[in-house]
Structure formats: structure tokens, C-alpha cells
């Protein structure tokens, strides 16, 4: 059953210290800034955050990092022209970093959401990012064993939800949302609009309600 929350504070209630939090967005597209602001106010700390980037500018994920709430970042592309908050923490040794190829980041979460215990992937074979990982040859090609990434919580942005929690997204803001929604114990979604059940075309639903726990309109 999906809960429709009245406030972002209600939507992020109960997130515990030490949680792994999957945060949607590619740069600022799809980044659920109001949910992250609510998480900052809620106060959970010692977090592991999984997100494609490590914050842009001073808002959203960057603001959470600046508050010192994140112990470890798991991401594909931390370094950007506007990632000064993360860069400072990293250079000061105040945050751990696990760099994951972007496709592996997505597929490892997909695996978690789909009940796959591990998978063999050709990405990163022969590179530093495969060091120490098991490899195996299939059909003459080498693959690296990759493990799922599960979240305790996912914070994502979508465009519209119905009252059951079915979601549609908007353009490239979709990015990691549908995958993260499947990979977390509790999926929290901010949307621009909540519509009546039945108002979304079932053929157009991208994330079915089964993956969605809490929705808030922002």
C-alpha cells in the first residue's frame, strides 16, 4: 500500500543513521531536492549515498554532503565543474568514495530489485575498477562478477503519481528513478502532481505502484 504523504518531512520520517540511501538524478535532472532538504532536517547521519554524481553546486545532494551526513559516496562521476563540496571533503579525507562504472551502477541496483544474486559483466575488464573481483570466461569473452546494490531507502523524483503510487516521469529526468525504485526497502517519491487513481494511462505507467511506498507532491 502506497502512502500519500502531506509533507516531505512525513515522507522521509524514520530514515535511520547508517542507512544506504539511493538518490535519483543525473546532475540536477531528476534530483529530488525537496526530499533531500527534508532528509537534512530529519537529521539521519553516517549515510552511504548511491547516486550518479556527488552533488552539484550547493543544493540537493551537495547540501547533504556539506552537512557532514554522508560517510561514503557510491557514484560513477563525482568530479564535475560544480562538485566543489564533494571535492573539498574528499581531499580532506572526510568521505569515502567508491567509483562504479555508470552502467554497473544501474545494473547492480536493477539486480537488487530483481532478486539477482550477482551477475557477470564485461565492463571494466582489465581496468583498475575490476581489481580484486572474480572474473570468468564465457564463449571466449572475459566478464567480471558484480554484486547487487540494495538501498534501505530510495529518494527519487517523478513527474506524476496516481493515488496508488503508479509513476510516470518526464524526459531525461527519468534516469535512475525506475531502477532505484525497485532496489530499496522503502521508496520515497516526490512528484509535481498527484492525480486520481485511473487518471494515468496504464500503458504509459513506467514504475508500477508495487515499487512505491511513499509519495509526496512538491
Amino acid at each position: 500500500m502506497t502512502a500519500i504523504c502531506a509533507t516531505t518531512a512525513e515522507a522521509v520520517a524514520g530514515i535511520e543513521d547508517g542507512s544506504t540511501v539511493l538518490i535519483g538524478g543525473f546532475g540536477m535532472a531528476g534530483m529530488p531536492v525537496p526530499l533531500i532538504d527534508a532528509l537534512i532536517a530529519q537529521g539521519a547521519t553516517d549515510l552511504t549515498v548511491v547516486s550518479n554524481n556527488a552533488g552539484n553546486g550547493d543544493t540537493g545532494l551537495a547540501a547533504l554532503l556539506a552537512k557532514g551526513r554522508v560517510r561514503k559516496m557510491v557514484c560513477s562521476f563525482p568530479r564535475q565543474s560544480d562538485s566543489w563540496v564533494f571535492d573539498g571533503l574528499y581531499r580532506a579525507g572526510e568521505i569515502e568514495l567508491e567509483v562504479v562504472p555508470q552502467g554497473n551502477l544501474a545494473e547492480r541496483m536493477r539486480a537488487a530489485g530483481a532478486g539477482i544474486g550477482a551477475f557477470y559483466c564485461p565492463t571494466a575488464v582489465g581496468t583498475p575498477l575490476a581489481e580484486g573481483k572474480e572474473t570468468r570466461e564465457f564463449d571466449g569473452r572475459t566478464y567480471v562478477l558484480e554484486l547487487p546494490i540494495r538501498g534501505d531507502v530510495a529518494l527519487i523524483g517523478a513527474h506524476r503519481a496516481d493515488r496508488m503510487g503508479n509513476l510516470v516521469y518526464r524526459k531525461t529526468a527519468r534516469n535512475f528513478g525506475p531502477v532505484m525504485a525497485t532496489a530499496a526497502a522503502t521508496t520515497v517519491v516526490q512528484v509535481a502532481e498527484i492525480v486520481e487513481t485511473g487518471a494515468l494511462d496504464p500503458e504509459a505507467v513506467v514504475t508500477p505502484s508495487i515499487y512505491v511506498d511513499r509519495v509526496v507532491q512538491v
Binding site: F26, A29, P101, A106, N175
Partner: protein, 210 residues
């Protein structure tokens, strides 16, 4: 005369097959889009989740929900589609993408690619989709200058920077020469403003002529 960035991009664009599904990396490779001929039928893929990506958006057309992999606002074209990240990278790994064009720090004569990390101790590593693209696309093209600012060649016997992929680069377009790479080494397809002999002299990799 050696080629300008735009002339290099035009050379790459000319070699992209009609109707190909193509991913253009961040930076110089993006220029290739400007040189695709009218009616090329090329469909651009952007790894953040879109096919048939249009050109950069300006003014009132800018939509923060619609960007390319470099986070630059872009436009839709008729026939565009959106998909999530796991699908986007399945398109690469699954061998559905015909061509990707990437930048590079170094490429080895047998097609190893180094383009994500200089290995400098104070550098913050960032890989993005480079490793997935390098091993996924059917043809991997690199666009780069052949020599670094200090004159050191970037086409090398063995990469000294951390690798992005092993034996994955098929062709390298540079300002002074174009090479086909494979298990047997580098084949020179064309030279621009440099003689074959001078090229062979300045590179430490054995060359053969096409």
C-alpha cells in the same frame, strides 16, 4: 595542414554509416553531430536515457528535465524515446549501439583505451559511462590530438594511464593522421600535414600503410 577540431569531427561524421545508432562522448566528440549530413538517418543515443537526441537547446527551449550526458540542455526530435539507466546501458553492453566516439588521454596500438583517470595522486577519479561504452559499442572511434602539448605521442605501445578498456578501440582520428587499430597494431589510413616517414619517426609504435 593538420586538421582543426571541426575538420576532425567532419572526418568522423563522414565515416558513420547511414542510419547508425551512435553515442557521442562528452567534449570534442559532441562536435561530430554538427557535421552529420542532412538525411544521414543517424540516431544519437545519450546515456542518461534518450534516443534520437536533438541539438543543444537555447533560450525558451531550455528544459532542465532534458539534458545530454554532459548535462547540457538539448531538444527532442520526432521519433525520440526515453528510457531508464539500466536500459540505456543494456543498449551499449548488448551490442545494439553501432558506433561510439570518445576522447582519450592515450590509446595503445592494439586498441587499449585510457580516458578516465590520469592516475595522479590528487586526482578525483570519475568514470561515468566510459567503460561501458568502450566495451559495448560495435565500433569504438577515438578523437584526439596525436601529440600532447609537450610533444609526447598519445598513440603508444602500452598505455601508462589507468585503462578504460582492453583492445576496444577500432579507429583513431587525430589532427595529423587517422589509424585503424587491431590485434596486429596500427594501420595508417590517412595523414594530414605530416609525411608518413615523419609520423613513423615520431611514434614508438610500428605502423603499416593502408
Amino acid at each position: 595542414m593538420s586538421l582543426t577540431k571541426d575538420e576532425m569531427a567532419a572526418q568522423v561524421a563522414r565515416d558513420i554509416p547511414h542510419g547508425a545508432y551512435v553515442n557521442l562522448g562528452i567534449g570534442q566528440p559532441t562536435l561530430v553531430a554538427d557535421h552529420l549530413p542532412e538525411g544521414s538517418g543517424v540516431v544519437l543515443h545519450t546515456e542518461n536515457g534518450m534516443l534520437n537526441m536533438g541539438p543543444a537547446a537555447h533560450g525558451d527551449d531550455v528544459d532542465p528535465d532534458l539534458t545530454n550526458a554532459g548535462k547540457i540542455p538539448v531538444l527532442e526530435l520526432p521519433g525520440s524515446s526515453y528510457f531508464h539507466h539500466a536500459d540505456s546501458f543494456a543498449m551499449m553492453r548488448g551490442g545494439h549501439l553501432d558506433v561510439c566516439v570518445l576522447g582519450a588521454f592515450q590509446v595503445s596500438a592494439t586498441g587499449d583505451l585510457a580516458n578516465w583517470h590520469t592516475g595522479a595522486p590528487d586526482a578525483i577519479p570519475a568514470v561515468g559511462g566510459a567503460m561501458d561504452l568502450a566495451i559495448g559499442a560495435k565500433s569504438v572511434f577515438v578523437m584526439m590530438t596525436l601529440f600532447a602539448k609537450d610533444g609526447t605521442p598519445k598513440l603508444v605501445p602500452q598505455c601508462t594511464y589507468p585503462l578504460t578498456g582492453v583492445g576496444c578501440v577500432d579507429r583513431v582520428y587525430t589532427d595529423v593522421a587517422t589509424f585503424d587499430l587491431g590485434p596486429d597494431g596500427a594501420v595508417v589510413r590517412a595523414v594530414h600535414g605530416i609525411s608518413y616517414d615523419e609520423l613513423a619517426d615520431r611514434l614508438e609504435v610500428p605502423l603499416t600503410r593502408a
